[in-house]
């Protein structure tokens, strides 16, 4: 029986893990898509696509801080990230 080679870690999980490592797990450290793009070096449209997918999966949450669109990693998102590291 042949098996497919291991897939790379999906792009959205890379964004999720970077958000987590930056510390965007509480509202006061939440990040805008632009800030995330700057931190991660990923273009902002890709970041937005990833955030949409992560939001659907329940791994990030969209919040508004002073009228700005910001994102934080949820508890389930933190658990997901930690599986990448162990």
């Amino acid at each position: 029986m042949s098996y497919t080679p291991l897939p790379p870690v999906p792009e959205e999980y890379k964004v999720l893990s970077m958000m987590h490592n930056i510390g965007a797990v509480t509202p006061e450290r939440s990040l805008t898509p632009d800030e995330l793009a700057m931190w991660t070096g990923i273009d902002v449209s890709t970041v937005r696509d990833c955030l949409e997918r992560l939001k659907e999966l329940g791994y990030v949450e969209h919040i508004e801080v002073s009228g700005a669109e910001k994102y934080i990693v949820t508890k389930v998102g933190i658990m997901k990230v930690l599986t990448l590291y162990s």
Binding site: M1, V9, Y13, R29
Partner: protein
């Protein structure tokens, strides 16, 4: 005790291990302080069952994984230094490489002995294929080098750690993982639990629990589904857990032609995990790398027949056809055979369960594990600090 995961921050077995060990150490009269990372909704300090838990927030973050690790170690080290003004620790116990930098620094600062538990190695987990893995491997070597004593959870891990890091045999102590069998004592409405996961009364529920990562071998279990279904069309598979590999595993499940038999639950609560484990007909642990395999031990305590890969620490408590069934790793045919073997003879399965429970109660209670760990603490605390 210094650990990157501690409940409710639970990733794999380390959080459960640290919690079980800490509780049992406290019950044996030790004063236990746990230093760990924060988790949303938890206080930065609490006392729980006599355990003092310090959750530290990393005030600075960084997208790079290893930089983040060094940063949180820095903040844990600061917290250790603060608390040490009021508490005089006798021994530092670090669990895995992730918090080793803080532990090693604090060892030199405090002149206290260091115990390091190597729960697994990067070499075993994923091989050394990328630069980050070499760095992690280096951290793991450094931890074993600096430790006054290294604890591993199985003979297989001892061989791996001594061989790979070239450390002397007498520096490494085998102390297995423990579990609390009493958590399975309560009654559960198995029919209701099974119904919740779509299992009809005449169907067999095959359970697999673990992080959805390649080393857990779940891909091979999924490939075993159509093989087993030919012999046993009444089987359904429940896969509990989550991880970065989940999308791939769901894709593999879609290719089997039996997707409807397979349910991925994602993360579930502790109570649900206990209930679903007690309600299963077979627990499968298809790992390709497993330093210990606490999931199998949980299944044995819960009274479920266990079918496990013949790898690592699993072979040290799953005795083939006496306390469970061992199958070849990376081999769907063998996994299907193992499940079928259990389902084919329910009297034999009950005998396996009875033997397994006896083994769990005799050798894997937290009380026994804490006693062994306490002996290690005593031994290193009695020595003059080596720097």
């Amino acid at each position: 005790m210094i650990t990157w995961e501690y409940p409710p921050r639970v990733v794999g077995g380390i959080a459960r291990h640290c919690e079980g060990l800490a509780k049992a150490l406290v019950s044996q009269g030790h004063d236990v302080h746990v230093f760990t990372l924060d988790f949303p909704g938890t206080p930065d300090y609490e006392e729980s069952g006599g355990i003092r838990i310090y959750r530290t927030r990393s005030e600075v973050g960084h997208p790079n994984f290893l930089t983040w690790v060094l940063l949180f170690n820095h903040f844990i080290e600061k917290r250790l230094a603060d608390v040490s003004r009021l508490a005089d620790f006798d021994v530092l116990h670090v669990h895995d490489w992730l918090t080793a930098a803080a532990g090693i620094s604090f060892k030199h600062f405090s002149k206290k002995p260091l115990v390091f538990t190597a729960h697994s190695t990067e070499h075993g987990r994923s091989g050394l294929h990328i630069p980050d893995s070499f760095t992690i491997d280096g951290f793991e070597w450094w931890s074993t080098f600096e430790a006054n004593k290294v604890i591993v959870t199985s003979g297989a891990m001892k061989g791996e750690v001594c061989g790979h890091f070239h450390i002397p045999d007498n520096k490494v102590e085998i102390i297995p993982n423990g579990i609390d069998p009493s958590k399975y004592d309560g009654s559960v409405d198995k029919g209701a639990v099974r119904a919740r996961y779509g299992i009809q009364p005449h169907e067999k529920m095959i359970l697999c629990v673990g992080r959805l990562v390649p080393q857990k071998g779940i891909e091979y279990l999924i490939h075993a589904v159509p093989i087993l279904a030919r012999r046993r069309p009444e089987t359904k598979f429940i896969i509990v857990g989550d991880g970065w590999f989940r999308d791939h595993l769901e894709w593999v499940a879609n290719t089997t032609g039996h997707r409807w038999r397979i349910t991925f639950t994602g993360f579930i609560s502790d109570w649900d995990l206990m209930a679903v484990t007690k309600s299963a007909d077979v627990l499968v642990v298809p790992s390709i790398y497993e330093p210990f395999g606490i999931v199998a031990l949980e299944g044995m305590a819960a009274g479920v027949p266990v079918v496990a890969s013949q790898v690592g620490g699993l072979t040290e408590f799953v005795e083939h056809d006496r306390t469970g069934v061992l199958t070849y790793p990376r081999n769907p045919e063998s996994i299907a055979w193992g499940i079928d073997h259990v389902l084919s003879n329910l009297g034999h399965a009950e005998w396996l369960v009875k033997n397994a429970r006896e083994v769990v109660q005799k050798a894997y209670s937290w009380e026994a594990i804490a006693k062994k760990t306490g002996k290690v603490y005593k031994e290193v605390a009695g020595r003059k600090e080596q720097t």
